[in-house]
């Protein structure tokens, strides 16, 4: 490892401070005993207790979790299927269009996605609620999943599937017994990514939510407009925790994924010599 120069240390410190100081302050103040957000009055976990007794927040948390789990699961299934189609079918007419269409929502502004979905739901006269948020989140999260999964699939050696077929598997059982276990880390990290994205989303949820389905970010946003409370700080701290957990697992999995890939490549080379 190269030694760090003074300049490097300074810029690293500033960079990290810039990124994480606001969050750090938020976390610290969530343990503030005082009701006044800006006045430190000693350490307390009081607001976490309050939070647990706040029905509205708990409801929102439940909605968020429900939306997160269902939409990321759906997105994982759909995204994996799309990735398969893109990687495996080779050149079919309209492939470029199809892949473009899959990746476009990645760069589409949330406001547009949200608005478009809202119009759709109004158009087909669908009552807005948890279902619509789930659908909306599935729509944008599946793009992310398909990106993650297809990058794994493109390096997947199809002769493994052929070997499975050769040994008597049906195409479906070859997928279940060979392909899926091997690409599982990518699928799981796709799911985690989808889940964190869903947890994070304010804009699209606001467009597609109904009166009885408020997600946590929406709840926080509306609460903050009335003034920041220590309770919100506590809640945000918990969310940071959950998201950080997801991100850490995601990066561990993708790291393992790359390590596996390297290993496989090495094996492949060995195998042929």
């Amino acid at each position: 490892m190269r030694r760090m120069s003074g300049f490097n240390i300074v810029s690293l410190t500033f960079g990290l401070a810039f990124l994480y100081l606001p969050m750090l302050i938020l976390v610290i103040y969530s343990f503030n005993a005082s009701k006044l957000v800006t006045v430190w009055a000693g350490f307390s976990t009081r607001w976490y207790g309050e939070l647990l007794r706040n029905e509205a927040f708990l409801d929102a948390a439940l909605v968020t979790l429900k939306v997160g789990v269902i939409s990321s699961t759906l997105a994982t299934v759909l995204g994996t299927m799309a990735a398969f189609l893109l990687v495996r079918l080779g050149r079919f007419s309209g492939r470029t269009l199809f892949s473009g269409m899959i990746y476009a929502p990645l760069v589409m502004p949330d406001v547009i996605t949200g608005l478009a979905l809202l119009l759709l739901f109004i158009g087909i006269d669908m009552d807005r609620g948890v279902t619509t948020i789930v659908l909306a989140h599935t729509t944008f999260a599946m793009c992310y999943v398909s990106v993650v999964v297809s990058s794994r699939l493109s390096s997947f050696d199809t002769s493994l599937e052929e070997a499975a077929l050769d040994l008597g598997c049906t195409p479906w059982s070859a997928f279940r017994l060979v392909t899926l276990p091997i690409i599982a880390p990518a699928v799981i990290s796709g799911w985690l990514l989808a889940f964190t994205l869903s947890l994070d989303d304010l804009v699209i949820a606001s467009f597609t939510a109904g009166p009885s389905s408020t997600t946590l970010p929406m709840k926080i946003f509306s609460a903050v407009r009335l003034g920041v409370s220590p309770e919100i700080n506590a809640l945000s701290t918990l969310m940071i925790g959950v998201v950080a957990f997801g991100v850490v697992i995601f990066s561990i999995l993708s790291k393992r994924n790359t390590a596996l890939k390297l290993q496989e490549e090495r094996d492949a080379v060995d195998g042929r010599t």
Binding site: S159, E162, D166, L167, I182, L260, D267
Partner: protein, 373 residues
């Protein structure tokens, strides 16, 4: 009691197990297999030989069902198998790249095909442990493929393909990564399995000695075509072209022009040298270009001028000592370099020839094979 020789290809009533009928396989506009006709009979040990990229793997993949012929038909037991998916074919293939399942242990890799058949547990266990013993993998049964050496992986792939004892077994370079001793043992194991189970084997190999040892028939391929299909001894003794002669074993090729009288042909091969004599059943035109193929071991090397149909003199250029035999590279005044082999029946210290010795090379008129192309 006369022993019946296994030669179903000579019996016109015998039905082939596999029939390729005008099979062509194209990848884009590249032709990998060109209009190929081939019959393989049940219980054969059929070897495919040919340079890299000549289409051996492609041929096997069509049999296994991973590639469809662009045109033509493949029949298995008389039935067209175009519509049968790979998992329904009574065919197992050992992949050139092994294609071991990285997430499964050696044991589970070998058991994979048996489990799909839904056989009962104890039967699977006996079968798998038999296969593992056969391929000497007992110590590694619990390991994952990435914890094995190249040769060990190759043995796992072999064990996995043998486990289901299919009607037809396709082995794509099954023994390339094994050391010589293990390779020879495995060759005999394969022949043993073949004898016991009556499985038909199609095997790809780059090692012509291996093909000679194990195969009932050998096919020599070149650029998607079959050049010659015959028994190992006939391929070796009666190659049909310079390509085959050169591909199988060591050979001296001398180009010349023919002058036929009866079954004897005089080949004019160099200015100022008397013509070489060979026998042939073919009919050649006068002065037609032809090639003499002479195996090094059929050429005698002597210090005195011998009395033989073909005699040439030269000077030893190089000696290759291979233990049991020595190969002498002898340069003729015409510029040709001829390889001659002699068995080392005596210890090396008393070897009779050395570099730059003048020696006589001789061979009989039946030793040389006359080839037209």
């Amino acid at each position: 009691m006369p022993q019946t020789v296994f030669a179903p290809w000579e019996n016109p009533d015998e039905k082939p197990l596999i029939q390729f009928r005008n099979v062509t396989k194209k990848f884009g506009d590249f032709t990998a297999i060109a209009n190929l006709d081939l019959d393989i009979y049940a219980q054969e040990f059929f070897a495919l030989l040919g340079p890299s990229g000549c289409g051996k793997t492609t041929l096997m993949r069509m049999l296994a069902g991973f590639e469809m012929p662009t045109s033509g038909k493949i029949l298995l037991g008389g039935e067209d198998i175009a519509a049968v998916p790979p998992n329904k074919r009574p065919v197992n293939m050992m992949f050139q790249s092994y294609a071991l399942f990285p997430h499964l242990s050696v044991w589970d890799n070998v058991a994979f095909g048996l489990k799909r058949e839904g056989r009962d547990k104890s039967e699977i266990e006996t079968r798998v442990s038999d296969m593992i013993r056969l391929t000497r993998l007992e110590k590694f049964a619990r390991r994952k493929p990435h914890q094995l050496s190249g040769g060990q992986r190759q043995r796992v792939a072999l064990a996995r393909s043998l486990a289901k004892a299919p009607k037809l077994l396709l082995l794509d370079e099954p023994l390339g990564a094994l050391d010589r001793k293990l390779r020879e043992e495995t060759q005999f194991e394969l022949m043993d399995i073949q004898e016991k189970t009556g499985t038909t084997f199609v095997i790809v190999t780059h090692d012509q000695e291996e093909a000679m040892t194990v195969a009932s028939r050998v096919a020599v391929m070149d650029e998607g075509r079959l050049v010659q299909v015959s028994t190992p001894d006939r391929i070796y003794e009666n190659p049909n072209s310079v390509y085959v002669a050169d591909f199988i074993g060591d050979v001296n090729i001398i180009e010349g022009s023919a002058n036929q009288t009866g079954d004897k042909v005089l080949v004019n091969w160099a200015e100022g040298h008397s013509p070489l004599v060979a026998t042939t059943a073919a009919v050649l035109q006068k002065d037609q270009t032809c090639y003499l193929a002479i195996r090094p071991e059929k050429i005698a090397i002597t210090a005195e001028q011998p009395d033989a149909a073909n005699v040439v003199q030269g000077e030893i250029l190089d000696i290759g000592y291979l233990g049991n035999i020595s190969t002498y590279h002898v340069k003729l005044p015409s510029g040709h370099v001829i390889k001659a082999q002699s068995a080392n029946t005596r210890r090396i210290a008393r070897r009779s020839f050395t570099w730059e010795d003048k020696v006589w090379l001789s061979w009989s008129d039946t030793a040389a094979i006359l080839l037209e192309r």
